[in-house]
Symmetry: C2
Subunit: 217 residues, 2 copies
C-alpha cells in the first residue's frame, strides 16, 4: 500500500500550508516536485490530479485531493488521533470556530495579502513593473483587518480559541512572505497580533517548512 504523495513545490504558499499540516500531524509522506517554472502544473500528467492546474495535490491510494485547505482538513480528519488536534473534532462549538477563522483567512486576509505579495515579489521576477497603487490600496485594507485580529487575540490566545488550530496554520505561508516586505510593521505594531505571529511562526513544524520558502533570489 503506497503512502501519501504530495505533489507541489516547497516555496509555494499553498504547498507550504499542506506541508506544515503534515508535520503537525506527524504523518509520513513523499513530496513529488511539480516545477511551476517549467509549467509542469499545466501538463496532462498533473492536470489529471488537479484539472485546474494548481499545486498542491495529494494522492492517498485511489483518492486524489486538491485545493490546499481541503487537503489540510482531510489530513486533520484522517489522522485525528495523532499529532496536534487541528480541527477540535470532539467539540462542535470549537470546530465551528476553527472553521469560521479558517474562512476569515480565506475570504478576508488572503485576498488582501495575495496582491501585495504578488506585486512585491512576483511581478519583478516576471519582468513586470510593481503597481504601488495596488499595494497601497491593500495595505490600507490589511490595517483594518488586523485591527479586528488585534481585538480577537485580546480575547483568545489563538484565533479559534485558546488552542492552536488549522485557523492559525492556514495563515502562515502568506503572512510569512508578507513579513519579508517593508510593511511588516503593520503586524509588529499590534501587540497581540505580533505575539500571535511570533508564536505560530516559531513552531518547529513551520520553521522546517519555511526554510525552503524563498520566492526571492
Amino acid at each position: 500500500m503506497a503512502g501519501l504523495k504530495l505533489y507541489g513545490m516547497p516555496m509555494s504558499s499553498c504547498t507550504a500550508r499542506v506541508l506544515t499540516c503534515l508535520h503537525e500531524k506527524e504523518v509520513e509522506f513523499e513530496l513529488v516536485s511539480v516545477d511551476l517554472f517549467t509549467d509542469q502544473h499545466k501538463q496532462p500528467s498533473f492536470l489529471c490530479k488537479n484539472p485546474f492546474g494548481q499545486i498542491p495535490a495529494l494522492e492517498d491510494g485511489d483518492l486524489t485531493i486538491f485545493e490546499s485547505r481541503a487537503i489540510t482538513e482531510y489530513i486533520s480528519k484522517k489522522y485525528k488521533d495523532q499529532g496536534t488536534d487541528l480541527i477540535r473534532h470532539e467539540s462542535l462549538e470549537e470546530s465551528t470556530m476553527v472553521k469560521v477563522w479558517s474562512e476569515v483567512e480565506a475570504h478576508q486576509l488572503n485576498p488582501v495579502l495575495k496582491p501585495i505579495i504578488y506585486q512585491f515579489f512576483v511581478s519583478p521576477m516576471q519582468g513586470k513593473t510593481t503597481d504601488q497603487a495596488v499595494i497601497n490600496e491593500n495595505l490600507e485594507k490589511l490595517g483594518k483587518l488586523l485591527d479586528v485580529y488585534e481585538d480577537r487575540l485580546g480575547k483568545t490566545t489563538y484565533l479559534a480559541g485558546d488552542f492552536y488550530s488549522l485557523a492559525d496554520l492556514h495563515h502562515l505561508p502568506y503572512l510569512f512572505y508578507f513579513m519579508k516586505t517593508p510593511w511588516s510593521s503593520l503586524v509588529n505594531e499590534r501587540v497581540k497580533v505580533k505575539a500571535w505571529w511570533e508564536d505560530i511562526s516559531n513552531r518547529v513544524t513551520f520553521k522546517k517548512v519555511s526554510e525552503a520558502m524563498k520566492i526571492w533570489n
Copy 2:
C-alpha cells in the same frame, strides 16, 4: 431556549446561501433583517456579531457564527440526521470531495463571478460606470473554468459525486445572478453544466429563496 436567528438580507448572495441550507436541513429559524442600504451591517449592534461587518451571521444560543460557508457547515453538522445530508458525514472520502468542490466554488468560481455581477448589477445602482474590460477578462476565465466543470459533470451527476451536497448548494446564489446577465450562454452551451444548473436551481428549497433575490429594480 431561543432558536436559530439568522441576521441578513434575502437578496444578499451569502444570506441566500445560508437560507437555502436551512431549508434543505428543514431547520426552523428566525430571519432578522440587516439592511445594507442603511449601513446596519456597520453599526455596533451588528459588528458585535461579525466584527468584519458582513452579512450573514447566525446566532444559536450563546454561539455566534459568521462567514456563510462556516454557517452552512455548522448547520449541516448540527442537524446531520435531518433533511438532506449535505456533507456526507458517514464517509471521509465523500465528505472530502464535498470539501474539495466547495473550495473550488470559493477559490475558483467565486472570484470570477463576483466582479462580473458587481460590474453588471451593483456598479450602475451606485451610479458608477460598468467596466466592460473587467467583465470580459472574467468571462474568459469563466469559460475555461466551466470547461473543467463540464468534464467533471460528465463523470458524476453532481460536483462531489452522485449526490447533491454543500458543494453544489454553495454555487447557487452567484450563478443565479450570473444567469440573469447577457452571458448565461456560457452555462447553457455546455450540456452537462446546463443540466446540473437546471437541476440544482429548480430544487424547491432554492426556488423559495431565489424569489427574494432581486438586485435589480
